[in-house]
Symmetry: C2
Subunit: 213 residues, 2 copies
């Protein structure tokens, strides 16, 4: 029941207490967002579902935007790492294809965390400036990764140097967003999603081989 790193025990350092309540509220918020969407998720419920008082989420995160930014940061960081891990040291098109494959696997695997992450991602079109900043930041990092993969392919002589790195990367990222949207509205259409990812890989390959765009 009780593990080495305090799971249920009493005496905890202050840092451990906040880390624990943060983690529990993160879980609670993810579950609630999946159940009721971001608008239907209340700070009160997040606190209570995490096993605390109605006020804790408000106190910790200040407001809904603060909570959402925290969630995006937490999950987004993990996930960028996961994607990079999946790509490992592949270069060029292979790296991009590995990323696309990993993306497909992650979403059909259907973890609540990723779903909540993307639900909040689409909230970033709202007026909350903090959320906008955090998502824009992740977006930019993701795009940079893709540019770097293309770059590595060029460096390895496997992609012609004339290619528009940033253009292709942006197209790729935009397509991913489009696919994610489709996943969110129809999470179980795995075959459809697989086809979209395959098609994306195919089109990206064409863009990196052929033409001048």
């Amino acid at each position: 029941m009780q593990s080495a790193l305090a799971t249920d025990h009493e005496k905890r350092t202050q840092a451990e207490r906040t880390a624990l309540s943060d983690a529990r509220m993160l879980d609670a918020a993810v579950a609630l967002i999946c159940e009721r969407g971001s608008a239907g998720t209340t700070l009160k419920d997040v606190g209570e579902r995490a096993g605390y008082s109605r006020g804790l989420a408000s106190y910790r995160f200040g407001n809904k935007g603060g909570l959402f930014a925290f969630i995006i940061r937490s999950i987004g960081d993990d996930w960028l790492k996961e994607l990079r891990r999946a790509v490992q040291d592949k270069v060029g098109l292979e790296a991009i294809e590995a990323a696309a494959d990993a993306h497909y696997r992650f979403i059909v695997e259907g973890s609540d965390a990723i779903r909540a992450f993307y639900v909040l991602w689409f909230d970033s079109i709202g007026p909350d400036p903090e959320l906008q900043r955090v998502v824009a930041n992740i977006h930019e990092r993701r795009r940079r990764d893709v540019v770097a993969w293309i770059e590595s392919g060029v460096a390895a002589g496997r992609i012609r140097p004339g290619v528009d790195r940033r253009g292709v990367a942006e197209q790729f990222c935009a397509a991913i967003i489009g696919i994610v949207y489709q996943w969110l509205v129809a999470p179980d259409a795995h075959e459809h999603l697989r086809a979209l990812h395959e098609s994306l890989k195919h089109h990206t390959a064409l863009a990196l081989e052929a033409g001048s765009t």
Copy 2:
């Protein structure tokens, strides 16, 4: 000041009254959604901004989901027509390229209506079933249009018959959604958006010529 179709006059038929209040509330809601996002838009403000009471929007649309569904339907219908008008009787790739061009023009033109429309579009990932239905419906109609354009190109012998019509159409629509997302987070990056649309046309052309996907 007073036109033939009662603009500011007194005596109105009941149907005219509702049509007028609907139109005014639509305008008000569009403006509010652009200013504050969908979550920040209150039924109270919609009613009052339209020049009525705080309660009217609630009474007319029942709840926020009802209002949003009404907006999507109103603007979405208009817009599908506009897109079709832009495509006219073009066939195959030309039709798709015309649609992409029109799409680009519409969004950089930056009408509040289209922005509000797409903001609500992304709300459809939330739990509101009515909104989901309405958006899914528009999405499906749009996809059908694209399939029909491809079909017409095949019929005209300008696209090879083996092409995966639905697959390419879905890829196209997914990419449009991705582009729209980028527009919503950075509305003024016209050159970037132009490049994304150009790239989309290019990739779609490749998909319709080459390969088997």
